[in-house]
Symmetry: C2
Subunit: 222 residues, 2 copies
């Protein structure tokens, strides 16, 4: 059974600003479901690398994918320890001193060992989870993935278990002595926004499906 709490270990316990940390699984999943890009960290030959990747969440596992020819993906499939971080930027925090400037954000850090998904049906399901993560409902509009496509794709799953959520919300926290300075202080809220969808040449003049026209991210700013 999956615990409603994430497992915090020595490695994921937030040491700094611990009041910003949470081990609530539902809140972490809300961040993962809103994010579009994960930053994936592995170490190769003594050097860390951080690579942006599309991802999806399928229940209690995170799905990553790439080409079977990718060195990074092969390293991950070979059992290298990995860290996957998803960050949402919610606002700029403008204080009355440079020192107290900050950012409002929500961030989930997951560590563990990724595992390659071998079963073709599970690969297909995981790819669907990736596409429906980006555009909910999109898979139902598409043909099924072909066996050749499934063979060319290396899909990894990472259990969402050893993980932590960190967030900052609210306005600046200025020093008492600075409160009377004649400096505007507050928050500039930020969010990801869309503009009009741009059709491919073959789709010009065709109706835009509601999955695309109504696309937005579910946001749960705490």
């Amino acid at each position: 059974m999956i615990s409603p709490q994430l497992t915090t270990t020595d490695r994921t316990t937030v040491k700094r600003a611990a009041e910003r940390a949470s081990d609530d699984r539902a809140a972490a999943y809300a961040v993962l479901d809103e994010g579009l890009v994960a930053h994936v960290g592995i170490q190769v030959d003594g050097q860390p690398f951080v690579i942006p990747m599309v991802y999806g969440r399928d229940g209690d596992r995170l799905i990553l994918h790439g080409s079977v020819a990718s060195r990074l993906m092969r390293g991950l499939a070979g059992g290298l320890p990995v860290c996957v971080t998803v960050t949402l930027v919610d606002g700029l925090v403008l204080a009355r001193s440079a020192f107290h400037h900050s950012m409002n954000y929500r961030s989930v850090v997951i560590i563990g060992d990724a595992r390659r998904i071998d079963d073709p049906d599970d690969v297909s399901a995981a790819l669907d989870a990736l596409v429906d993560h980006l555009v909910p409902g999109r898979v139902a509009e598409l043909r099924e993935s072909t066996p050749a496509e499934i063979r060319q794709t290396l899909v990894l799953e990472l259990p969402i278990d050893e993980a932590s959520l960190k967030a900052r919300t609210g306005g600046p926290r200025d020093d008492e002595a600075d409160l009377d300075l004649p400096v505007w202080a507050g928050v500039v809220p930020l969010h990801l926004a869309t503009t009009e969808p741009v059709p491919d040449p073959g789709s010009v003049g065709h109706p835009v499906p509601s999955t695309v026209a109504g696309w937005s991210r579910p946001t749960q700013i705490p």
Copy 2:
């Protein structure tokens, strides 16, 4: 003299989708100047960690900062190899197959060894670069950082040298055989947007400075 090209080595040479890679320093700086959050990767006790951090660019160096009490920051200051990645998400690419779904993005990966900045004047200048990176012109509105604030802040510089830029632009690249499928294909453009600034209680009713009211990111989508 700094080369207008970034140094690509075996470690930063983009192996996959090499047509998406560039070593143009100006284009990489445009990405760094637009981004707000860097994902910083280091390895500790055999486990990679990827942490989101505010950053700034000061000429040919990237500035990171944190508390002198932060284990991550002390590790970095101690000379651990680091990878800093900044990613901008420009759009969802919806193809006619799940396989060809993609993301338009620009991403800069920098690797190297960070170095602690010791000189208090240089720390102060680096902190200013961080704040003016978030909100251009903001530093001119603030009092100077105090010696105590400078002592409490650990500021690191990472030379922007061994680095690479990767980007995807444009519409979906479907298989020929899929072009006649009755599926809408195209791009959903994405960008970071603001809403009305929210004043701190002490700033309610005060005029919002143009640095805040006119805040936007310089965007150079290729």
